[in-house]
Chain length 278, copies 2
């Protein structure tokens, strides 16, 4: 059965989005997706900090953490709080309503949406032996003014995701216009070369996710040297070990990209363990 | 007084947009803006053709022309039809609602929005002597998969438009990553060099508007040779005459970009006249 998501718009169960909302008209806003456990958001300070920072890049004043926490309390009910079951919360902040035209109104009231949905049912083998990636034909465009932020202009991800229907493929690797590996459609990527952990630098394109940030911080625990730098597809395919990450599944090992395969290794599992707080 | 726009969502005055709509979540859709005169859309066949083509690029089946015409008849009332007064119609087509995730649902019902707003009150001097442009610092990203189409991922236009507050500036010139002139935030651009009319080619970025298309067709009437090619900012500034165009104002002469000025000339006025059917 399809889980029916429920949502709050500006803290209200009965509101929807106006067609005049700039989020709908122009993708003028940002979003975040996070795990809810025991009715509370996991890694909330990092998520909120990133939400505020992303809003700031495009000149939106992010609603307060208190307002959003109030939304979580309304939307995630007692049974969520009582259980250890996980759910997913998605926060969307748009610039709010405005008249036609790209110029934002002098004063705007951001629109705040929190959507509840079911935790994805990841296959057991993803945890045990890893996932397959596909190299997307769609290349990420270079835009320094918007790189790294998780904004609502996600048509590139949509057209990239439409490229494959093979259900054995977990995610699609996205390259930039120069052929450097950047990220996957819904994940960041790390490549281990001996004791160096590399991840693509995201100054031109890509989304700098908070799990990426946490893995960069945790690498020292494993005596790994961190390197954030451009990485060609060819270089990435030579990695001793590849992992992808996001806020929902934590980290998965990549065991196959096209004809390239990697045997089972421990890094993804180790990071999953380190990423888990409890 | 601010004009209050009114709108129809899927032909219904009482509907709004679900936060689960992919137009809101990802900017997963396209739009058009057109003049309504006597209650009917000007250049409708070209607009509808472009809407269908843009939808097709991202795999959306565009609602029928009959459905949209029905919306116009509902939204633009008898007084609009009886008067010669102009208004603006904006059509937004999104992929429709979907579960969380970039992958579009196997079957989607596109969301169809028609918004009515007032015709902009363009200053008389824009028609008489032309407009000033500003060269935006924001550069357009190169994305062959989406270039030319008027999709809902318009954050670049928004951040570019936020660069200036000087009300004497009518529009902002957008360059690509290589420094070629592409378009303005809400207009296409043409440069006349002697008897050649040049306009930037839009295979990497930009929106190929229908007024641009009409001007390309009309150029022969004026014995102008048309050239669609990359054009550096330096080359553009050497033009004998510059004009910008869109569906609402038709064509305006550019009389100033930074320190570069152009004296009053006839091309924009001539095209405005040729663009007008009645």
């Amino acid at each position: 059965m399809q889980h029916t998501p429920t949502y709050l718009v500006n803290g209200d169960f009965n509101l929807e989005i106006s067609p005049l909302d700039r989020g709908f008209a122009y993708g003028d806003g940002v979003f975040r997706t996070m795990v809810m456990q025991g009715g509370l958001p996991v890694d909330w300070p990092l998520h909120y900090q990133k939400l505020v920072a992303d809003c700031a890049v495009i000149g939106i004043v992010c609603p307060s953490a208190e307002l959003l926490m109030g939304d979580f309390l309304q939307l995630f009910s007692i049974e969520d709080i009582d259980s250890t079951k996980q759910a997913v919360a998605k926060i969307i902040i748009s610039r709010g309503e405005g008249a036609r035209g790209y110029k934002p109104p002098a004063v705007t009231t951001p629109t705040r949406v929190v959507i509840k949905s079911a935790m994805p049912d990841y296959a057991k083998e993803y945890y045990a032996t890893g996932v397959h990636l596909y190299v997307c034909d769609t290349r990420l465009a270079s835009q320094t003014k918007l790189a790294g932020i998780k904004h609502l202009n996600r048509l590139e991800n949509v057209v990239a995701r439409m490229e494959w229907r093979d259900e054995s493929i977990f995610d699609g690797l996205l390259l930039d216009q120069q052929g450097n590996a950047i990220e996957c459609t819904m994940s960041n990527i790390f490549a281990r070369f001996d004791t160096t952990l590399m991840t693509p630098e995201l100054s031109q394109c890509g989304v700098a996710g908070i799990t990426r940030q946490r893995i960069l911080s945790l690498a020292a625990v494993l005596n790994l040297t961190v390197e954030v730098a451009p990485m060609s597809l060819g270089r990435l395919l030579q990695a001793d070990e590849l992992i992808i990450c996001n806020s929902l599944y934590g980290a998965f090992q990549v065991n196959k990209i096209g004809n390239n395969t990697w045997s089972q290794q421990a890094l993804a599992k180790t990071f999953r363990s380190l990423l888990t707080h409890d």
